[in-house]
Amino acid sequence: MTLILFVEQCLNGVQLGLMLFLLAAGLTLVFGIMDMINLAHGSLYMIGAYLAATVIEATGSFLLGAGAAMIGTGLIGAALEVSLFRQLYRRSHLNQVLATFALILIANETVRMIWGAQPILLNMPEALAGPVEPVEGFRYPAYRLAVIAVGAAVALLLYVMVVHTRLGMRVRAGASDRDMANVMGVDTRRLFTLVFAIGAGLCALAGAMLGPILAVQVGMGENILILAFVVIVIGGIGSIRGALVGALLVGLIDTAGRAFLPGLLRHVFPPTIASEAGPALASILIYVLMASVLYFRPRGLFPARG
Amino acid sequence: MSAPSLAISGLSKRFGGVVAVDAVELQLQSGELHALIGPNGAGKTTLVQLLSGAERVDAGSIHLDGRDITHVAMHQRAGLGLGRSYQISSVFAAFSVLDNLALAAQARARRRWGCWAPVAADAVLFAAARGTLDAIGLSARAETPAGALAHGERRQLELGLALASGASMLLLDEPMAGMAAAEAERMLALIASLRGKFTILLVEHDMDAVFRLADRITVLVYGRVIATGGAEDIRRHPDVRRAYLGEDQP
């Protein structure tokens, strides 16, 4: 294996990881602060991607599309929080799982009704469609590099927000002890709505940016949602830092598995077996990691509560 | 003197930087009603948690009838005859009062794995449950779901569960907590009636009750035993007076 290949695969892993982080950030805050399992988080990602695709197709501007998707999905998230999720916070986890599973079905069919069952294939913005050559002899898709840059910037911004601003302080207070935060006069109702809306907006950003790499289609949120859950359980529910570390770990393991395991297995098995077993084993690795974290450090790598 | 029924030696537990239980030494004779008192935060409940196996011991040992149970799992301690009640009532809310006690009786009979014979048809088991029901004075409430009981009744059931489970040694954590005077009086009578039949460690705030009932009393302050003895000894013990009344030593 050459160094260039290794670096390129690492970048691919980081890119996937950062996108997972955008999804996991909202999920972990909602989970940590409101103690709410939201399976419909993936649906917000899907809705964001569709909104982005629609605006991009209408205006031709990728930036406009991503922005509109973030705002639109944020508003949808806020509306959902006020109308539905508030009633679920104090319910059992079982009820939350079912209500949000129902939301997945509703969101999928609504999207299918509005946009049809065929996937929308977004194009990358013209300026980023080609490769860049940061180092002589090493070319990398400009778009993926941009995705990494945006992901990293958002991660940094979120970190600064959570650690250094008043809002973040309240969020952290809410995550570690909701009742205490209530007593201290934090308006948790508005805080929850705001956190939910921000989480939804981040989902939409991920949806918009992954649109051109994947496809905007019904059901796109379901598999990535489970990965996002894996991320936050590994990182520690409620912890932004944990979500970032977990996301990068999952992204790197998944990409490494897909990139290198088939090659290793091919020394032993024929290609059809190797290439099916490789990615599957990489996926298993992720869940093994999650199960062992749950077993040995049930609160995750970076627990938010004491 | 015979070998103690419960022997605690050098028992310690810390939570972070706080020492909740600090090298406690305590021995209960068989059939003794031993009261454990102390100001709030003295570590009484923690001690009960350690004895019942709900919390892990940091240092020291616990012996029950000569057997080392320091690291024995909670349910196994119960199997060895160690029963407890909770400060905050912990009953089976969805079960009727009778079913609560039947479950405890099932525990006493060590019957857990049957998959076929209906328990409800077991006359012996339910006779035992009804016996406890009468003993704790809840006969009229047999069919009521435990979740629907009044506070005092729930305290009675709480104790009933420990009794029906076949324990010989009872750890009672503030059985009268939050009770109205009349209810507390009934509970007191109930505990008095258990005297001699069980070895009892009674954690209680009601000093009046403690001094009337207890054979011996141990005083716990900041996790340490500062005195053990009969009611009179304790009443006169200078450290106890200082802890409770804030009296300065001359």
Binding site: E8, A129, P131, R139, S275 | -
Partner: protein, 388 residues
């Protein structure tokens, strides 16, 4: 409660009308959602075009076409087939795009006595000794189209080819077909999960292995994403792409555009083939749906024509499945690909062309036929079939 359910169960079928004998019922099960949806949609439209042109009839009988989405999932397909064979009692089932959907449900279709006409996948399984008198393929055997491309890449003198396909029967057979005619060396042979859309890891692998050609078979949205990502990684200029026609057809061209120009691909059909049936088909299709047809549409159109001819031949007696099957075997119709006949295994014998994606005079990007690779080509498994 149990009573209610049972009552509902008994009441349900009573509400359904009984089947009449004066029409032909067709179950059209295809992939209409997900990354493979474009294929199923084109096939549905191609089939419907024939029915529409004939005034809602096939072979003179009123045609009742029930369209369902198999979601590219065998389990969903399985339930749809149960409904077709046991509830709706259709005469013919067609429409399936993917072999991994078809193979698990085909036994129960054939066991029920229903005729199946495949407008797309032509699996190896049923081409040889398991060939079946009620199973027809109106398209090609899975190895044929890629085989033609393998021949072409061989002729071009490539020495080190990178192969990539999804890991499902159709994908594996496609690469086998390529390898049957291409005799040079291989940089690697990679199978991805069916439905995978992000090819970053595989493209990095291609870059590192430096092949002199890449042969990819990734139907539908998978191929579209692969081509875009391949171009954005900057590989398109260095290492040429070759593909069976499925991944360089009009649906892909519409989505990818410029990045496909110059790509060579093989096909049994092209929209510029010069025969009257094809001219009518392309014109009608464009008029009806406002887009150029793909191979998928042409195959499905031909399947409908074939059925139309067979029903005519048995004079509308579709109840007699043996007679209908026999008529299908020898159906005479004007195929849009010109010369066409069924082999002893009910798979086609036909010509295979080389197409190139070009920008024509009007600036439109589309396929142009540039040559013929195989003539009168039958698949490699027909000899194992015992049917006469």
């Amino acid at each position: 409660m149990t009573r209610l359910i049972a009552a509902a169960l008994i009441a349900l079928p009573l509400a359904l009308p009984a089947a009449a004998a004066d029409k032909v019922k067709i179950g059209f099960m295809s992939t209409l959602s997900g990354p493979g949806a474009a294929l199923g949609v084109d096939m549905r439209d191609g089939f419907n075009l024939v029915v529409k042109n004939a005034g809602g009839k096939l072979g003179g009988l009123a045609a009742e076409v029930a369209v369902v989405d198999d979601e590219q999932k065998p389990d969903t397909a399985r339930q749809a087939v149960e409904r077709f064979t046991k509830r709706d009692r259709v005469d013919v089932i067609t429409g399936v795009v993917f072999s991994n959907v078809l193979l698990p449900v085909l036994p129960s279709i054939l066991e029920s006595g229903t005729i199946f006409i495949s407008p797309n996948t032509g699996p190896e399984d049923y081409a040889g000794d398991k060939c079946h008198p009620r199973f027809f393929v109106a398209s090609w055997q899975n190895e044929d189209v890629p085989g033609a491309m393998g021949q072409k890449v061989q002729d071009l003198g490539k020495k080190n080819v990178f192969l990539i396909a999804p890991n499902y029967p159709g994908g594996r057979e496609t690469l086998n077909g390529f390898k049957r005619y291409y005799k040079g060396g291989y940089a690697d042979e990679v199978y991805t999960k069916l439905g995978q859309l992000d090819y970053a890891a595989e493209i990095a692998d291609i870059r590192a292995k430096k092949p002199d050609a890449v042969f990819f078979f990734l139907p539908g949205g998978m191929g579209i994403n692969f081509i875009k990502q391949y171009a954005s990684a900057g590989l398109a200029k260095d290492i040429p792409l070759y593909t069976p026609g499925y991944s360089a057809d009009e649906d892909t061209i519409k989505a990818v555009g410029e990045q496909l120009v110059g790509v060579l691909n093989s096909s049994q059909w092209a929209h510029d083939l010069d025969n009257p049936a094809n001219k009518k088909f392309v014109a009608d299709f464009q008029k009806e749906y406002g887009r150029l047809p793909t191979m998928y549409a042409s195959q499905s159109y031909d399947a409908a024509l074939m059925l139309d001819a067979a029903i005519k031949a048995v004079q509308g007696k579709v109840e007699d499945k043996d007679a209908l099957a026999k008529a299908l075997r020898t159906a005479k119709f004007d195929s849009v690909r010109g010369k066409f006949r069924l082999n002893n295994n009910n798979y086609p014998v036909q010509d295979y062309y080389l197409r190139e994606v070009v920008k024509d005079a009007s600036g439109r990007i589309t396929n142009r036929t540039v040559g013929k690779i195989f003539s009168d080509h039958g698949d490699a498994f027909a000899s194992k079939c015992k049917m006469g």
